[in-house]
């Protein structure tokens, strides 16, 4: 079973198999004997090849949180198929919410021609006002939000018509 782990900007395709003395992680850079020993209360001893370390680990769905050597790391596990799908339309077809929050005002209507950088929507979260601007020139296909709406992170606020 193969999975892609996104760590920061980089993605790593990995699979796990059972080796002679324990688990082996197959990565692009070759096989890596590894182990994870629970120490209780979210604490684990991780070993990967020669490396060893104690860490706090928590999972939420396909997101893994690791507190290791005084740093917090987030790894997102994506199914290769989903990744493929996502690659199809890279959100380039619209403007997305950069944070969860509330819509303050919408500054464009469907059909409007906008230039890259033009103000589209003003939203607010935790008393912080942010203006969402057009990622590129184009024509507005639809507006998916209205003042007062609560929107989640990455929610597509405005979508563009496909460039012809």
């Amino acid at each position: 079973m193969k999975k892609i782990f996104r760590l920061g900007e980089t993605e790593h395709a990995c699979s796990l198999r059972r080796g002679a003395e324990g688990m082996v992680l197959e990565t692009e850079t070759g096989p890596l004997p590894c182990a994870l020993q629970p120490l209780g209360a979210a604490r684990y001893r991780i070993s990967a090849g020669e490396e060893q370390a104690e860490a706090l680990i928590a999972r939420h769905g396909e997101r893994i949180w690791v507190r290791l050597r005084g740093r917090t790391h987030v790894i997102d596990a994506v199914d290769p198929l989903d990744a493929l799908a996502a690659a199809g339309h890279h959100g380039g077809d619209g403007a997305q919410a950069p944070m969860p929050g509330t819509i303050v005002s919408v500054l464009v209507q469907p059909g409007a021609e906008v230039k890259a950088g033009q103000d589209l929507v003003v939203m607010e979260s935790m008393k912080l006002e942010v203006t969402i601007r057009a990622p590129h020139d184009g024509r507005i296909a639809a507006v998916h939000c209205a003042p007062g709406d609560q929107v989640p992170l990455k929610f597509t606020l405005v979508s563009f018509e496909a460039a012809t």
């Binding site: 939420h60 790391h73 992170l153």
Partner: protein, 493 residues
């Protein structure tokens, strides 16, 4: 006001400050209630309170800003005093008046003082008239039509501020005339939304200034003292992130001077209760009045560490009508204290507010470490309120010991499930400029690249191993052992 002791206290706030106020009040045997909007999921404060009073509003924030509802809650519950904490209604004279009408004490200054200082324009005028230094400025209300022109006349760069503002909300730096109108409009919108008042004024913006503030306290009998200064120059978008006392920038002479000016302003204003006088301190060693906050500050604990005073306890004593009972000479200063604000903000996403569940929460402890937290493991962190989760406060014999303890405290802290600025805080502490105490309010912007942590390389192998081995499906597929799979079931959290 009456001089009777406070027996039933309503805390009209939430989060870490509500918990911190409850701890002091309860320790004194005061019965405590807290108001809570349904959007508040869990949290520490409701656990500490003797009673929880539900409040409602169009938005969660609106509920905490509803003077009538809060005053009515206090009356119905039989409170004889209300502590507003900071933010929300803490600087709104209407609450003090509504409570006074109901014979309930407001833990804070009289409404007249709040009004005087709450309006930045009247405040700076009041201070200037008494010979304290203020910066060149232009005030919209003087002649709205010519405001933009007068603003530019102050000389760029300028700082736009809401007349009724505070805490950096709605403040914007303008360095070029082109963007002035747009920024004025945005600042006005925010002023209207947060303070119900769109009036603005602009001030000459001092480059690379330090933000230094002084804690003052006055009683109902005319006594006013100060508790030394706090260095608050480590800021992002005018939001303080790290505060310390004493300030590394001041020599003994300047310290005494700035503290006396602050106490002098408080005396002139007939100040009662705990307050903070904020100053801009320029690279040239000159300082001038910025504003006065007529409430408890987020960063008050560093002052408590070095003076040994409990400022909330002093607020309650003053509200009860007691005289301070001590003079300036009785207030000593011991060691150095630093406060770190742990916020649900994602540095990797331009410090956007982050939400999620606190899957794992570990707080530091040990000698010289204090944690003022508002959250508990397992609770949800939403986007309804500001992003402050907890404050880590360390106290050491000197700055280097305090700094060492601060870094150890961060290392002992863990917060998984919600993105925070935890690692960012550690990179700030590790920065040579911070270690040297040589920084201004421009520090974080100037060093943004280095503080971004791009230079740090993650332990990829260990992380991938953890990710794969904590994935029940991958382990099961590989090991094909039902037992192991079941064990991994523990991961449903």
């Amino acid at each position: 006001m009456t001089a009777a002791p406070i027996r039933r206290l309503l805390v009209a706030n939430r989060g870490e400050i509500a918990a911190r106020i409850l701890r002091t009040a309860k320790a004194q045997g005061i019965e405590c209630a807290i108001v809570r909007h349904a959007a508040e999921d869990g949290g520490l404060a409701p656990q500490l309170a003797d009673a929880v009073i539900p409040i409602e509003g169009a938005t969660p924030v609106a509920a905490y800003l509803d003077v009538t509802q809060i005053a009515e809650a206090a009356r119905r519950w039989g409170a004889d005093a209300v502590h507003p904490g900071y933010g929300f209604l803490s600087e709104n004279p209407a609450l003090a008046r509504a409570l006074d009408a109901a014979g309930i004490r407001f833990v804070g200054p009289p409404p007249e003082v709040t009004e005087l200082m709450g309006d930045k324009i009247s405040a700076r005028r009041f201070v200037a008239e008494r010979g304290f230094p203020v910066a060149p400025s232009a005030i919209e209300a003087d002649d709205p039509g010519s405001f933009a022109r007068r603003a530019l006349a102050v000389g760029l760069p300028i700082l736009i501020k809401p007349a009724a503002g505070g805490g950096g909300k709605g403040m914007r730096i303008v360095r070029s005339a082109e963007v002035l109108d747009a920024e004025l409009a945005a600042a006005r919108r925010e002023g209207e939304r947060y303070f119900g008042d769109g009036r603005l004024f602009v001030e000459r913006y001092v480059e690379r200034p330090r933000h230094i503030e002084v804690q003052v306290l006055g009683d109902q009998h005319g006594n006013v003292v100060h508790f030394g200064e706090r260095e608050c120059s480590v800021q992002r978008r005018f939001q303080k992130i790290i505060e310390e006392t004493p300030s590394p920038a001041l020599d003994a002479g300047t310290r005494a001077q700035i503290c006396e000016v602050a106490a002098g302003i408080a005396r002139a204003a007939g100040y009662i209760g705990a307050g903070t006088v904020e100053f801009i301190y320029g690279a040239d060693g000159k300082f001038y009045f910025l504003e006065m906050n007529t409430r408890l500050q987020v960063e008050h604990p560093v002052t408590e560490c070095v003076t040994g005073f409990d400022l909330v306890a002093e607020q309650l004593r003053v509200a009860a009508g007691e005289p301070l009972g001590y003079g300036q000479a009785d207030i000593g200063f011991q060691g150095h204290a630093i406060e770190l604000r742990l916020c649900a903000e994602d540095p990797a996403q331009g410090f956007m507010p982050a939400t999620g569940s606190l899957l794992v929460l570990r707080e530091p402890a040990g000698p010289g470490v204090r944690v003022d937290s508002g959250v508990v493991e397992g609770q949800r962190v939403g986007s309804d309120f500001d992003s402050l989760l907890a404050k880590l406060i360390v106290h050491g014999r000197n700055r280097s010991q305090a700094l060492a303890r601060a870094r150890q405290a961060l290392a002992d802290t863990a917060c998984l499930g919600v993105a925070t600025n935890l690692d960012y805080l550690d990179r700030i502490l590790a920065h040579p400029q911070f270690a040297a105490g040589d920084y201004s309010t421009a520090f974080l912007d100037e060093q943004a690249a280095e503080l971004g942590g791009a230079a740090e390389t993650p332990p990829t192998a260990l992380l991938l191993a953890a990710a794969a081995l904590s994935d029940g499906h991958m382990v099961a597929a590989a090991a094909d052992m039902p037992r192991l799979y079941a064990q991994m079931g523990a991961w449903r959290n």
